[in-house]
Symmetry: C2
Subunit: 381 residues, 2 copies
Amino acid sequence: MKISCTQENLNQTINIVGHIASKNSNLPILSNILIKAENKNLTFSATNLEIGITAAMRGKVESDGEFSIDAKLLSSYISLLPKERIDLELADEELKIQCQKQKTKIKGQGAADFPLIPKIDKQNPYILSVKDLKDAIYGVSFSASTSDIRPELSGVFLSFNGEELVLAATDSYRLAEKKVKLISNEKQKNLTDFQGEKVIVPVKTLQEVSRILGLIKEDESMEVVDTVEIYLGENQIMFVYNGVELVSRLIEGQYPDYTQIIPDKFGSKLKINTTELTKAVKVTSLFTKSGVFDVRLDYNSDNELKITSSSSQTGENTSSVDMEKSGDSGEIVLNYRYLLDGLQNIGSENIEIEITDSNNPCVIRSENNKDYLYLIMPIRQ
Amino acid sequence: MKISCTQENLNQTINIVGHIASKNSNLPILSNILIKAENKNLTFSATNLEIGITAAMRGKVESDGEFSIDAKLLSSYISLLPKERIDLELADEELKIQCQKQKTKIKGQGAADFPLIPKIDKQNPYILSVKDLKDAIYGVSFSASTSDIRPELSGVFLSFNGEELVLAATDSYRLAEKKVKLISNEKQKNLTDFQGEKVIVPVKTLQEVSRILGLIKEDESMEVVDTVEIYLGENQIMFVYNGVELVSRLIEGQYPDYTQIIPDKFGSKLKINTTELTKAVKVTSLFTKSGVFDVRLDYNSDNELKITSSSSQTGENTSSVDMEKSGDSGEIVLNYRYLLDGLQNIGSENIEIEITDSNNPCVIRSENNKDYLYLIMPIRQ
């Protein structure tokens, strides 16, 4: 194998695939990146056996071959090189790398031991915009469960149907749901018996997708496509974006029918500035009892929401925020961490809180964007 | 006690003194800030029994009194308040704080239990510029020993004499020394038998001084003085700056006569660009043996310094950097972490390395500023 490329391309490609390579004492080769030169094509791959990433790279192939090399060392090394041409050549189980006055030999392992990364047929993709997918991942992932007791809740639910992709996540204390328009649903177009598809994707997979979507930058040598293709296979999902293919296993199981718990009517609606409410909740949260996260929202006034907490150790606090209220008066007690999570991710200047009563879930919506919903279970007193 | 002030002043004052307040299970009050209103003056204090900080604050005193309150809670709370007027009032062992729509009561402890912060007579100060002191602390502190086996090496040596303050620190593997001009030496002026003074100051104390020097910003209500006064007392040192007084214990013991190990002649002098050398050392450091930090500097060529390392696990590397050499050829092996520490702190475009031979300490100097010196003991092969 003998290849050459620019430092910028090599550095970006290693960043894309190398992130999931990691130390594994049972299978040390998982800390490596596989470099493959074949028929003038260059690809870089890495896998943690749950997620596999393969990225094509522009470069000159003088002779074919493949070799695997420690991802962390390669990444640290290449990132420190000047933005110049890099020559790589395989000789005696070592990769010789030269860039201007920098000469190095890195030991590695043959490609034969590298695990196969599964493929999914590239047929009938769901296509959506990069920005929509990134926003949706950001908007819902944080609500997934961090425990493995109910594995299906540790993933994000994706439902493809018609022109729409719905993403949802819940840890059973709060729920986030985001609806995204599909640019194209090729399955619906081409398969007469298409009934929609529902899958559960590990949060880590979506975080990795989101990371990669943010990495690829347009430059003079490259035009960047701003859409992502999603393919579903047998218990697997593949995201394809600008020459990068990320394949991941899915989480098996039945996702709960969360739509049941979303109230279809409410007694009170509070419209509040997001930043003001966030500040007020942060202040009041300083005065909760140690280990307890309750803050009380008092909406008895017509135009002022009072947020209160007290503790025998630290003292007590009342923060007030202007609001526009319609409907009934009342009080509800919420976990301030769940409330802050929602406020941080909603991304709109004002929010609307819909409350049934102190025992039923309250729903927070963005003022303008009705495609996003965040629901919190109250703490019953 | 009843006082009022601006959020900006209160926030800055709490930041200045509160940083050293910390949890102490033997003496819980050490996590508090002491607030004192007396004769129209407002002061805030905190101590960890090694360092005590007292800061004066502008504000309106309606009635005198003193009270102590948890530093972390107070700091978090005040930092979240709007930049408006704040009213504080002591009532029933609680501090009532009001700022616009924010109302709170914080529990605290009476001032009687708060440890006394020692004072040093403000006579005959050493006066120097804030910038010089900050640069010197930054330039030498990192070389002090992090172990307590030889307590005197865990501090920074300060020698006041004539028009000069010399700061030095060494962990016996490397040494940093910085000379700073005194704006005024009042002791020398006023005491006929003045012979100079030498003290050892804990690194933490100097880091705290440096932090405070960076915190106080000029604003419309306040002119900031850009000099620091230093007073020495019985086993104590006091730094005074814009109404803030920091008192610290000194480290007892005799500081080694480090000047003996600074070579007064050398066989080779290498002039190198600091950034280029830093990059090259970082690259080569990737290829040292695990747990070993040796890199070899080969200055046999007339105009190219070669930096090499190799390991049976990862591979090998050679980085080359342009240099101007005068004197002999040779090789020397250094710990790359010590070398990088020096290069990071030297703050000049080019450096000069003075080498005697592979067994004797080498000296790194800034090209322009001869007041700074960094010395590294070589690794004998």
